[in-house]
Symmetry: C2
Subunit: 209 residues, 2 copies
Amino acid sequence: MKLYDYKMAPNARRVRMFAAEKGIELEMASVDLGQREQLEDGYKAVNPRLAVPALELDDGTVITESIAICRYLDEIQPDPALFGTGAKGKATVEMWHRRMELEGLQPVADAVRNSVNFFAGRAIAGPVDFEQIPALAERGKQRIDLFYAMLDAHLADNAFIAGEAFSIADIAAVVACDFAKVAKKRIGDETPNLKRWYDAVSARPSAAA
Amino acid sequence: MKLYDYKMAPNARRVRMFAAEKGIELEMASVDLGQREQLEDGYKAVNPRLAVPALELDDGTVITESIAICRYLDEIQPDPALFGTGAKGKATVEMWHRRMELEGLQPVADAVRNSVNFFAGRAIAGPVDFEQIPALAERGKQRIDLFYAMLDAHLADNAFIAGEAFSIADIAAVVACDFAKVAKKRIGDETPNLKRWYDAVSARPSAAA
């Protein structure tokens, strides 16, 4: 089992952090996105979507999409239960995880990929090039502010994103917050509950994975 | 257990179709998005995110996000297994489902919400208004063409999106294809494999749910 990975890629970090929380050690193969290695023929043969992460199983099957990889890891190592437990618990984690993706990771990706020079002409990951849309970057930045404000209110009464237990929703959220720094959006003193949560999650050993 | 629903809403349709495939009958409460009923105080008390669908459990808990609702339904009625079976099977369904969302539903939503007059000033669902971005609608339309071409190639060798069995990935895909009609993007004769799959999935009783 081998994970195609890049240290700076937010989606790859989600998988690394998930695996670290599970205590799963993965063989790593680095694909240097900074050098556009994911666009070369070698990696194209592994993942024609030209994105990381990708998990290659021992039988040669390649699983792409970060959360699909996390689901696989969750099946082979159920503890700790990062997707929640019980019908209501699993639904609650899925709900908050989706919100972290739709209200956090997506706006941050919109902001970064449509404004940062490195992504000029590459506003969407994958095999087809798209030009940046500056108005979308602006909209992304506005939505990051809303995301931080929403989380600050929510975390006034919750230790973690989905309630009392650490879950995959916390992973998505902390990755979104760190990725947002690229768009110059940092958590400040005006959101103290968010700051408390961010410091706690960032101090977990998995956050450095 | 009550589902807040609107017949024309793509995300609500995903849940209705999922429930129908499971044989689960849900009590329905219609929220008329055509009349902006989701923005009124009554619904705001149910779901402050002001979107449908939302599932209210008998204990008063409200689950939002379509797939979180589907996960709940899957827990209370595991058969048929629409999220896949076994570690590799579940990961494969999650991978294809994610691709249907990221390469299908998202571009279609970009195209529709950023161009259709009804969504002027409401380019993103939820409590905050956003202006439409015409360039994003154009990008969405280009990506729908790529989505159809990708699916046509994939379905040359696969009966369903995630392989041999019908899954939640097929639900997301058929909802994306029907929603794309609003952006005047219809499946044509140039994608015969996609057409064959679309006709088969559309003929299932659940597609009319």
